[in-house]
């Protein structure tokens, strides 16, 4: 089953063609610079740019795999969460195509896309599984009971992980969003050079992530260390990122130990899933519990992209013969939850 999918939830205009869980074509036009992978929307241009570019991106996606829209069986589109005016561009284009080519249209949640993105090109993994979505807009630890049935175990009460890394970078004078820059500098920095407080150490139920306290501690530390030299920046970056990740590991560890279920897999998705240090730390933690870490097979699938939307649309509807969603019922859901 071939699906053409569209995602305009944020500042990337993306269109993909997928067949089953296989990605045939996945075009992303980024409005941010290529390294600013989890910066968030620039509303000033978002809507206009999405409008100007969506046709070009659709054509490019089809051209890449030498297909026509007629060859696709279904169309899928992100309906939320995201910036309303940006979502709208993708949704109205998807409706237009669905009508013109008489294809069923499937509305998809963006976070669910990140959640299941590690399943791209995979055939099957045993459920229940853990899902960890870490991006600029979301930090959620989810129990995937089955495809379409999820339980949120922990989520952020202030900043998302990607956002916290971006803000840490900004405190170091690395611009915004600077999470990816921060990561580069952590490779040469010493994560033990400075001590920062790991968030929510005395939390009893571990159902939340919080970065407000770490941000304050970082602000104070940076003020104390000014003027910043290259070496200080490297060490501060490494220390900050190390603690931000430690917090995620702590929360995850709690749920591994307390869930009365046998879980063998964890799916990691979202822009921060690109971070090699995070992958390394998680792999180490999970290994001691016999859990396998699954990440999207390419960097492109970690950031915002339409292929993950196509994959969810397939997984949720592969046994459904007729898609009955009425076009007029499909609308944007800026605050959508999984």
């Amino acid at each position: 089953m071939k699906i053409l999918s569209i995602d305009t939830s944020c500042d990337e205009t993306s269109v993909a063609i997928t067949e089953g869980t296989k990605v045939i074509s996945n075009i992303i036009w980024s409005q941010a610079s290529q390294h600013a992978s989890f910066g968030g929307v620039m509303p000033s241009l978002a809507q206009r740019l999405h409008r100007e570019r969506i046709d070009w991106v659709i054509n490019r996606a089809l051209l890449n795999c030498k297909l026509q829209i007629e060859n696709c069986d279904r169309i899928a589109v992100t309906v939320g969460p995201g910036l309303a005016i940006a979502l709208e561009v993708g949704i109205s284009k998807a409706k237009e195509l669905a009508l013109k080519y008489n294809k069923p249209l499937i509305p998809i949640n963006h976070i669910e896309g990140h959640l299941l993105s590690p399943l791209a090109n995979k055939s099957h993994i045993s459920l229940p599984a853990f899902g960890l979505v870490v991006s600029g807009g979301n930090t959620q630890l989810i129990l995937i009971e089955k495809i379409g049935k999820y339980k949120v175990l922990a989520q952020t009460v202030d900043d998302a992980l990607g956002e916290a890394l971006d803000k840490g970078a900004r405190l170091l004078g690395l611009g915004y969003p600077g999470g990816a820059t921060l990561e580069k500098f952590t490779r040469v920095g010493n994560p033990k050079a400075y001590s920062l407080p790991v968030p929510l150490l005395d939390d009893k139920i571990r159902n939340r992530f919080s970065y407000s306290g770490l941000k304050t501690a970082m602000f104070r530390l940076v003020e104390k260390e000014k003027p910043l030299t290259k070496e200080k920046i490297h060490n501060l970056a490494a220390s900050f990122q190390g603690v931000a990740f430690k917090h995620v590991e702590n929360v995850l560890s709690y749920h591994i130990n307390h869930l009365p279920l046998t879980i063998n897999h964890l799916l990691l998705g979202g822009g921060v899933a690109n971070n090699n240090q995070l992958r390394k730390n998680l792999r180490k933690l999970l290994k001691s519990h016999g859990i396998t870490l699954h990440t999207p097979y390419s960097k492109k699938l970690c950031g915002d992209n339409a292929a993950m939307i196509g994959i969810v649309a397939y997984l949720k509807n592969k046994n459904t013969k007729n898609i009955n969603a009425k076009l007029e019922d499909i609308d944007r859901v800026p605050n959508a939850k999984v």
Binding site: S33, G40, L83, I85, K184
Partner: protein
């Protein structure tokens, strides 16, 4: 298209090609790049056809030193510090451009990416040329990064080859990552005129915890609750990162009975919780942009409570509406102790 090895005449030859509006493929500390005179419109158009770029994508430039950078862009303190610590090197710094380059080099928002290469040949070419060159990789858009000339020549059409005037081939480059991009424009300070906001020093309260900040928000709301239904109430929050603007809004959420978790709106810009709207103006490039978020529509409902973080960035637009809304300015500052904050407020 001519391919040459590097020798004593390479720089002069490259410069004469660039002066004539030609394209030069050259080695850098990251990958092979393609240079055009960034001040020459014809050269940039030629580069666009080579790169097969859809319109609207910008180019980074390479300059010889910070002095040349300042000729073409406004460098704020953040930018200057990065130049000092990290350049020359594989870092591209984005600043506000001065619109002195060929159209299409700066981004649509008028920002400009600048590099100072640590690869001597690049710097020599720019120094002799006396103006910036484009610093973009020599592959066509959506093709792989070029570490050797065959990566390029093997992947482009005859038409593209004909557009290239000169190739400087130094063999295979060591595999380095592309340059790190640092956007400093967010640190351009919001311009505050004196008298823009009036605070009453008697209204200063010390908060010693996040919970404390939430309670202060609650009390401030209750003090003005009588306006609900008569006018929308705007809490215009001003304060450095990490001072607790989101904590303050959480307090508003509590008193308004919001059941959902109130989280930072930095990424989404606007988050709505029934009658409470939470906006982050930090990344809005100018004050009018508040309108693009639907601000005017929001204040049509007289029951609305709107919390705006980084309100100092959109003061003008907020003040324009002062006849229709009640504005409560809230300034939060770091105190001495780690969790201490001074909260100051005033009403227009």
């Amino acid at each position: 298209m001519e391919i040459i090895k590097q020798n004593t005449k390479t720089v002069a030859k490259a410069v004469s090609v660039l002066r004539a509006g030609g394209l030069v493929i050259f080695p850098t500390e990251t990958v092979y790049g393609i240079a055009a005179d960034a001040t020459n419109l014809k050269a940039i158009e030629k580069l666009n056809s080579y790169k097969k770029r859809p319109i609207g994508k910008s180019y980074s430039i390479a300059v010889s030193d910070i002095k040349m950078a300042e000729k073409y862009a406004l460098l704020n303190n953040t930018a200057k510090n990065i130049y000092k610590e990290f350049l020359p090197g594989p870092v591209t710094v984005i600043s506000q451009g001065k619109h002195k380059l060929a159209p299409g080099v700066e981004s649509e928002a008028g920002t400009l990416g600048i590099r100072i290469s640590s690869y001597p040949l690049v710097n020599q070419i720019v120094t002799v040329l006396g103006r910036p060159i484009t610093a973009t990789s020599a592959n066509a858009s959506y093709m792989r990064r070029p570490y050797k000339i065959s990566d390029i020549v093997g992947n482009i059409s005859k038409k593209q080859k004909d557009l290239v005037d000169l190739i400087i081939d130094v063999g295979k480059l060591p595999r380095h990552e592309p340059s790190t991009v640092i956007d400093t424009t967010i640190d351009n300070p919001a311009v505050l005129r004196q008298g823009d906001i009036k605070f009453n020093n008697e209204n200063e309260i010390l908060s010693t915890s996040e919970e404390n900040t939430q309670n202060i928000a609650k009390e401030l709301f209750q003090k003005h609750e009588r306006f609900v239904g008569k006018r929308p109430i705007i809490f215009a929050l001003i304060g450095e990162m990490g001072t607790g603007k989101t904590q303050f809004t959480k307090g508003l959420g509590k008193v308004l009975g919001v059941k959902e978790e109130i989280v930072s709106p930095t990424f989404n810009l606007v988050l709505e919780y029934g009658k409470l709207i939470h906006i982050d103006a930090w990344r809005l490039q100018s004050t009018e942009k508040l309108k693009t978020l639907g601000f005017l529509k929001m204040i049509e409902d007289k029951n609305m409570i709107i919390a705006i973080e980084w309100a100092d960035r959109v003061i003008k637009e907020i003040k324009n509406q002062r006849e229709h809304v009640l504005i409560i300015w809230v300034k939060i500052k770091y105190g001495k102790g780690i969790n201490e904050r001074f909260i100051n407020w005033g009403v227009i």
